[in-house]
Structures are given as structure tokens and as C-alpha cells.
């Protein structure tokens, strides 16, 4: 009998979480810089990066 392959979510879970961690590392200085300088464009980029970092565990985890 052929063993059932684990789903894509399970196979890529750790990869997604590692990317998420890396995005947090990237978003952290941008959020601080954008906030202290009140720079609209940096703030927008930081939100996009942190938002994506938070989206990945939602997709990856059961």
C-alpha cells in the first residue's frame, strides 16, 4: 500500500516560518526608522513586510 504523502502545508511549514522570522528581522528596523522619522513610505514598507510575516504562519499552520 502506498503511503500518503504529507500535504504541502506540512512539508513547507518550517520554510514558511523561517521566512516569516526573516521578514520580522527586516521589518523591525524599518518600523523603528519609519516611526521615529515619520516617513510615510518607510512606514508603508514596514507594514507590508510585517503584514506578510504575520500572514505566513496563518497560511502555514493548521
Amino acid at each position: 500500500m502506498e503511503l500518503k504523502k504529507p500535504g504541502w502545508r506540512k512539508r513547507n511549514r518550517m520554510r514558511f516560518l523561517k521566512i516569516s522570522s526573516a521578514l520580522f528581522v527586516l521589518g523591525f528596523p524599518l518600523a523603528h526608522y519609519g516611526g521615529t522619522r515619520d516617513s510615510g513610505s518607510i512606514l508603508a514598507i514596514s507594514f507590508a513586510i510585517i503584514g506578510l510575516a504575520c500572514l505566513l504562519p496563518i497560511i502555514a499552520e493548521k
Binding site: 518550517m14 516560518l17 516569516s20 520580522f24 518600523a31 516611526g35 521615529t36 514596514s46 507594514f47 504575520c54
Partner: protein, 528 residues
């Protein structure tokens, strides 16, 4: 923001989403944390009039806080993986097994003292995962072994893992360690005794309670004093480790004195670890290094000389559209480069690699492999934890800086009034039950408890301490920790049975702590 049921429910909704996600949907902490972060940002922006700048700064503060805690977690797990990978945990545990033939003494020694000593080093379920299988091997019923470990080590969480939960409650409330540490140790004394009695009761019911009474009183006093003393002299990150070690020592001496017709056990006996023989001193050497380096970093002259070497970000003052103001802060979540637990743990791990890798004076070829394997295992274990902590801390900071936490606190203060100190540790336990971590619970509810205390005119220090103690005791009913125990002793699927056992002891301990906190609050033992 006016306090009414709609606003209060809105402010509470990120926590409700987190709770519902974990409890009702069975989500992992990282997913629930991320989802509740989205909810918190949306509510803060839409209903609490927070602009992008305030939210970005709150996120950045959250990541600053998370970094402080994660550095400890990563290095503590790395150290544990080095010790475990070398087979040294087997040697340390073997020494514990040989101390006594009495089941109750063995149960108290392993589930109450030794698991707490391990919590002082690693935490994150490691004590249950390591000690419960040893107890089963020694002949204990698996359900009793897991329940006793879960309840027995639950007093030791806050100061465990080199103080990650203790650090988190300081960071979110802004209370200095030298103020909250001794207060927490005082409140923990009730938990130490209650968990000791609970382990005796789990093992042999009322008979066990009666037989264990003098032992629990003696060892509990030693551990309570050690916990308080380590805080008093400013070495809180070693408080659990030293209290656990003190408990093991006293119980060991007790067992030796009361041995009937048996020869004295040899703790230094070499144990086969797979590749080589190892004696206790060599096995425990990285932990001796942790103790030595921590004490060394606390030498007054050295501490003063190294104090300026710290890193931390400055944050400006901000205000929401509703008028809720957040003050400017310099070096937020400051990391002391030489006294932060992470470099000490990391150096001790490297020392461990060197000691374990040595063969007859020369470094073995396994040295590099040991480090690489330990690093790989650390990444596997810590990445999901990292995402979970970062998302939850950011959510907590968004709630705090937008005024949502303050609004919840005002509602809770109105609801409970003067009896709130009794409920306070239950809130901490609820946080741990939801998130599976005392650290996360402190981050989520620490500010809420502190703000509620101030609104009620109670001591913020005392209720912040109650939060952490309740959070610590809540570990014994945390589903993830229970699963770690059951899966390691081969009774997977019997989690509800174990929780049915532990919840009684957990709630009783928390109730005792709550009453104790209420008495301390009533007689104003601690100032605001």
C-alpha cells in the same frame, strides 16, 4: 475613550480571537498570535484612532521586547541540546535515581526538585519531557509520572530558563527586577509548598500527604529561602536553578540519613552514554559554568564597569486620536551586553562542547559535529516559538499603546473591585493555558494587571508578581506541555485524563496564592 460594554468588548477582541483560535479552533500559537495581531491593528486604527506612526512604533517596541526574551530562549535551548546530545542528561538523571529506594522520596526528588532544577536551565516543557520517562523507567505509573512532573515543576517557571518570564514581566510593566523579584519570590513560597503537597498527594493520596508533610515543609522552606535570597542579591536568573539544586541536595541528604541497611550510593559513578563513559562532574560542567559566569558577572566592580555596554532603541512620545498618550522612552528593552543571560548561556554551551568533545586531552572529531547538531536542533525547536512570541508581543504592544489594555483594565477593575487580587493569579494562569507559556502570558496580561492594580489603588508590583506566579502554575494545565509529557511516556491520547488530574491541584494552588496576595494587598505589605 469612554468605558462602555461595546468599547470594552472591542478592546478585548484581540485577546478573545487569540483565545478562540487556540481553544476552539486548535490553532498553533504562531497562527493565533499572527491573526490576533491583524485584529489588534485593525481595531486600534479603526476604533481607537491610532495612526500608522503609532502602530509602527508599537510593532517595533514589540520586536525589541521579543528580541530580549528570544535571545534567552535560543541560547537556553542551544545549551540544553549540547548537554542532551552528549548524553549528559542521562548521567545527571542517573545520579538522581540512585539517591533513594523510597517511592515518595523519589517522586518528590524527581518531580518536584529535579524537574525544577532542569526548568532553571532549559524550560519550555523540557523538564516534563526528560523527567517523566525516567520516572516511568523507575517503575512509576505513566499517568502519575506525567501529572506529578507537570504539577511539581509548575512553581519554577517564572525564574526558570534563566529568567525569561521574569524578564518579560519587568519589561512590559517597567518594574525593576530588584523590586518585583523578591515580591515574586515571596508569593512563590505558597506555590512551592502547595506543589510539594500536591506531588505527595498525586503519588499516594492522603497517606502520601501525611508521610510527605515533614519532607515538604523542610525542603519547601529551603527552596523558598533560596528563591528569595537569589532575588535579594540580584541573581534572579539563577533563582530557580539554585532553589531546585538546594531542594535536590536537602532531599538527597534526607534520603541518605534515612536509608535502612543500604550502602551509600556513588553519585560520581561513570555512566555509559553511547560513545564513552561520563562522570557526574563532567556531565554537569556546562551548568557549573553557567553558575560561575553568572556569579562572576555580578561582582560589584565588574558589574559597574560593564554597565555602560548596553544596546536599546529610543522611542518618541506618541498620542492616539482619542488623546491616549504614550511617553517617550530611552533605550527601551535595554540589553546589557555582558550581564544578559544569553551570552552566559552561549559561552557555557561552547564550554560544554569543549568538555564533552575532549578525549584524553585532545579535542575529538565530534566537537564540530556536536555544535552543528545542537544548532540544527535549536533552530527546529525555536523557529515556531520565535514567530509565536514576536506576533503575540506585537499584539500586546499595539493593545497597550493604543489604550486598549488600559480600557480593559478599567472594566475589570469596575467588575471585581477590592477582591481583584484573588482573581489576579487566575488571569495569569489563563494566559498560560491559552498561549502555553508563562512568558507569553506575562506579555499579554502583564500591563493589564499592572494598570488594573493602579486603578484599584492596589500595589502594581504585587499584582504583576501575582500575574507571573499564576502564569507559572498554569503550566501544569497547558495542553502543549501535557502533550509533551504524554507523548514521551507512550500514553499519547490520554491528555484529558492527565488534565483532569492536574487541574484540581493547579486551581487549588492558584486559589491559595490568590488568598495570600489578597492578604498582602489588604495589609499593604508592598507599595504601589
Amino acid at each position: 475613550m469612554p468605558l462602555n460594554i461595546l468599547n470594552w468588548t472591542l478592546a478585548l477582541s484581540p485577546v478573545l480571537v487569540l483565545l478562540g483560535g487556540i481553544l476552539l479552533r486548535g490553532w498553533k500559537t504562531s497562527k493565533a498570535g499572527a491573526f490576533s495581531w491583524f485584529v489588534a491593528v485593525f481595531i486600534a486604527w479603526r476604533f481607537f484612532n491610532c495612526d500608522a506612526r503609532l502602530l509602527a512604533l508599537a510593532n517595533s517596541k514589540g520586536m525589541s521586547l521579543a528580541l530580549y526574551v528570544l535571545l534567552i530562549i535560543w541560547s537556553a535551548i542551544f545549551l540544553y541540546n549540547v548537554v542532551e546530545g552528549a548524553g549528559a542528561i542521562k548521567v545527571i538523571s542517573g545520579a538522581m535515581q540512585r539517591v533513594s529506594e523510597d517511592g515518595l522520596v523519589q517522586c518528590l526528588l524527581l518531580a518536584w526538585c529535579f524537574s525544577s532544577l532542569l526548568q532553571g536551565i532549559a524550560g519550555f516543557g523540557v523538564p516534563v519531557a526528560v523527567v517523566a520517562p525516567i520516572m516511568v523507567e523507575m517503575g512509576f505509573n505513566p499517568a502519575i509520572a506525567v501529572s506529578a512532573c507537570l504539577v511539581g515543576h509548575s512553581w519554577s517557571i517564572s525564574f526558570g530558563s534563566m529568567g525569561s518570564s521574569y524578564n518579560s514581566i519587568q519589561l512590559v510593566t517597567g518594574i525593576p527586577g530588584e523590586v518585583i523579584g523578591p515580591c515574586m519570590a515571596m508569593v512563590f513560597s505558597v506555590a512551592i509548598f502547595s506543589t510539594g503537597f500536591a506531588v505527595s498527594h498525586i503519588y499516594a493520596g492522603a497517606k502520601g500527604l501525611k508521610k510527605g508533610l515533614p519532607l515538604v515543609l523542610l525542603v519547601g522552606t529551603v527552596m523558598s529561602f533560596a528563591l528569595w535570597f537569589m532575588n535579594r542579591i540580584g541573581i534572579a536568573q539563577l533563582a530557580t536553578l539554585m532553589a531546585g539544586a538546594g531542594g535536590c541536595l536537602v532531599l538527597g541528604v534526607w534520603a541518605l540519613i534515612h536509608r535502612e541497611g543500604q550502602s551509600c550510593p556513588k553519585l560520581g559513578r561513570a555512566v555509559e552514554t553511547g560513545e564513552t563513559e561520563m562522570v557526574f562532574g563532567r556531565a554537569a560542567s556546562p551548568y557549573f559554568a553557567v553558575i560561575f559566569l553568572t556569579l562572576f558577572s555580578q561582582l560589584p566592580g565588574l558589574k559597574k564597569a560593564l554597565a555602560p555596554y548596553s544596546i536599546g532603541l529610543d522611542y518618541p512620545a506618541v498620542q492616539t486620536g482619542m488623546g491616549y498618550a504614550v511617553a517617550a522612552i530611552a533605550k527601551y528593552s535595554k540589553i546589557q551586553l555582558f550581564s544578559h543571560p544569553a551570552p552566559i548561556l552561549f559561552l557555557s554551551a561552547l564550554f560544554g562542547c569543549w568538555v564533552y568533545g575532549r578525549k584524553k586531552g585532545a579535542l575529538s572529531r565530534g566537537y564540530g559535529k556536536m555544535m552543528a547538531d545542537s544548532a540544527r536542533a535549536t533552530v527546529q525547536k525555536c523557529v515556531p516559538t520565535t514567530v509565536g512570541i514576536v506576533t503575540m508581543v506585537m499584539m500586546a504592544l499595539v493593545m497597550s499603546d493604543s489604550g486598549m489594555t488600559n480600557l480593559i483594565a478599567r472594566g475589570v477593575a469596575g467588575l471585581f473591585g477590592k477582591i481583584y487580587p484573588i482573581a489576579s493569579p487566575f488571569v495569569g494562569a489563563l494566559g498560560t493555558f491559552i498561549t502555553g507559556s508563562n512568558t507569553n502570558s506575562n506579555i499579554m496580561f502583564g500591563v493589564l494587571q499592572y494598570d488594573t492594580a493602579l486603578l484599584l489603588g492596589e500595589s502594581g508590583v504585587l499584582l504583576a508578581a501575582a500575574q507571573s506566579v499564576g502564569g507559572s502554575l498554569g503550566v501544569s494545565i497547558s495542553p502543549s506541555t501535557i502533550m509533551m509529557g504524554t507523548s514521551n511516556v507512550g500514553i499519547g491520547g490520554r491528555e484529558s485524563e492527565i488534565m483532569g488530574k492536574t487541574i484540581r491541584y493547579c486551581l487549588a494552588s492558584i486559589a491559595l496564592v490568590g488568598v495570600f496576595v489578597w492578604i498582602l494587598a489588604k495589609y499593604r505589605v508592598y507599595g504601589q
